[in-house]
């Protein structure tokens, strides 16, 4: 479904990604793990067209999207929930969701309203706060809003960048349960995480990024049991 081939990205003289290749099939949860600064976020931003690529090719649903603009890529059915949530702080919760619906033009008002209701049943807490400004929500609620906003366009693939960042452990569990729930409803998911144990335990497959290169890959279970992964990312 999504295929990244030989992707290299650099910011000025600093190389962020070197020759990264990976693939995601329909219906999978794939996770990309790695320590801070390994290039995980850069990788997602390159797929979404937010940073220029030096070399490499990215294909989505069989179409070359390497040089497409971000909004075009989104319109094709790829939703990217960015790191640090980046919700619109002075738009209300409801308006944030409506903004999320822009990714799929051509739907009627009724269809969009229906999708909003679906999000509210998935995230009941957002419904209580529908007229509140996005910036007044707590961290966990903001993360839920960011995911809900990403789902508003009913994407084919959902890319999540560090959804557990800065959340209390109990909320992290809630978010991961949600991701599995979304996956069960038929969405393909690319998950980026520093919380490697959690991510690998729900993922079909995983890739380990180390200073901009893919160091290891395998199924979630394989990586969880890998000696090297255990010592570096799982704390022994």
């Amino acid at each position: 479904m999504l295929k990244v081939e030989n992707l290299s990205v650099s910011y000025g003289y600093v190389t962020a990604l070197t020759d990264v290749s990976f693939e995601i099939h329909q219906g999978e949860i794939v996770t990309l793990i790695g320590s801070n600064g390994a290039g995980k976020t850069t990788c997602l931003m390159a797929i979404s067209g937010l940073v220029p690529k030096e070399t490499g090719k990215i294909t989505f649903l069989g179409i070359d999207i390497t040089h497409k603009s971000p909004n075009r890529i989104v319109n094709m059915g790829m939703s990217h929930v960015p790191e640090g949530r980046q919700i619109f702080p002075s738009l209300s919760v409801h308006e944030n969701l409506l903004a999320g619906a822009m990714g799929r033009p051509g739907r009627t008002k009724a269809q969009i309203a229906e999708q909003v209701e679906r999000m509210f049943s998935l995230f009941p807490r957002l419904k209580e706060r529908r007229n509140q400004g996005g910036g007044t929500l707590s961290g966990g609620e903001q993360q839920m809003l960011a995911i809900a906003r990403g789902l508003m366009m009913d994407p084919d693939i959902l890319m999540l960048d560090e959804p557990s960042l800065g959340l209390a452990p109990i909320l992290v569990e809630e978010i991961f349960a949600l991701i599995q729930n979304i996956h069960r409803q038929g969405k393909t998911i690319l998950l980026i995480e520093q919380n490697a144990a959690m991510a690998l335990s729900i993922a079909d497959r995983g890739y380990v990024l180390e200073s901009g290169r893919i160091a290891l890959s395998g199924t979630g279970r394989e990586l969880l049991n890998d000696q090297q992964v255990r010592s570096i990312y799982l704390g022994g």
Partner: protein, 291 residues
């Protein structure tokens, strides 16, 4: 005392035009993320578009509003194409200097095309007076205030009740997040810039009607007042920018009750100076914070 009251009413009227200018300015800065110095010239073009429309086509206010808005919005398109489009990823001062150059070019071209002398703005508003106690309000003032309130209301609806409004506000708050929900950021910036310039053009026409005169060099005073109002209000907050505009209008007019008229502009900028000393972030409170 009566004189001060009269000046207060005059100030409200003039301030309402400043408010409209500031609304346009804040819309532009909000969506482009860049300060513009071409705004005064855009307003001047709007005023001239209305002037020629009144001279040669129809002397009706509504037609003038449309003509000034359309001409200034076209200027906004040019500003976008010349000063912004290529420089989004470049350092911000490039666009900024570009708008300064653009404003000089427009000002001088306008002197060649329209003539450098001051022209009399045709009076398109049937005059009558309304006496409320000691204060006499004339039709021009009433209609200007009504126009400003009408336009602001329309803008409020546009910003808060439409898809385009959500797009504009989303781009205003985070360009990256807006791109990631599928908003065409460049087109939204173009739209917001044209909209803000159009509003400025109409404000320029109203000022010309208020002063009953216009010339190609009025732009810099206009632009500075718009800038001062928007900065006082906190730069990108539209309601506060409007508030800043009204305040500056009132302060200017009450000030001239005590000092000669030639000190008029001093008040606007001394006021701005004081605001920035006391509240560097402008009058508005920062967004995203719990009240």
């Amino acid at each position: 005392m009566e004189y001060i009251l009269i000046q207060f009413v005059n100030g409200l009227c003039q301030g309402s035009i400043y408010a409209l200018m500031a609304i346009g300015y804040a819309s532009i800065v909000g969506v482009t993320g860049l300060v513009t110095f071409a705004y005064g010239e855009v307003m001047m073009i709007g005023a001239f578009a209305a002037y020629y429309t009144f001279q040669y086509f129809a002397d009706q206010l509504l037609v003038g509003i449309l003509a000034s808005f359309a001409a200034a919005a076209c200027m906004g398109f040019l500003v976008y194409k010349i000063c912004y489009e290529r420089f989004f990823d470049k350092p911000r001062h490039i666009s900024l200097i570009c708008t300064i150059g653009f404003s000089m070019l427009v000002k001088n071209l306008a002197q060649i095309l329209f003539g450098a002398n001051t022209k009399a703005m045709p009076s398109v508003i049937q005059n009558f007076f309304l006496d409320i106690g000691p204060v006499r309000i004339n039709a021009v003032q009433l209609i200007i205030v009504a126009t400003v309130i009408g336009l602001s209301g329309a803008l409020y609806l546009l910003f808060n009740k439409t898809q385009a409004g959500i797009r504009l506000r989303a781009v205003n708050q985070s360009r990256q997040a807006a791109a990631l929900v599928g908003i065409n950021v460049k087109r939204t910036i173009l739209f917001g810039n044209c909209l803000g310039c159009g509003i400025g053009g109409t404000a320029g026409m109203l000022l010309a009607i208020y002063y009953q005169s216009l010339s190609p060099t009025i732009g810099s005073t206009f632009g500075n007042k718009a800038f001062a109002s928007a900065v006082a209000g906190g730069m990108t907050s539209i309601p506060w920018a409007a508030g800043g505009g009204v305040l500056i209008g009132v302060i200017e007019n009450i000030g001239t009750a005590f000092l000669p008229n030639s000190y008029r502009d001093v008040f606007a900028f001394v006021f701005l100076f004081i605001v920035l000393l006391l509240r560097p972030e402008g009058l508005s409170k920062k967004e995203g914070i719990r009240p």
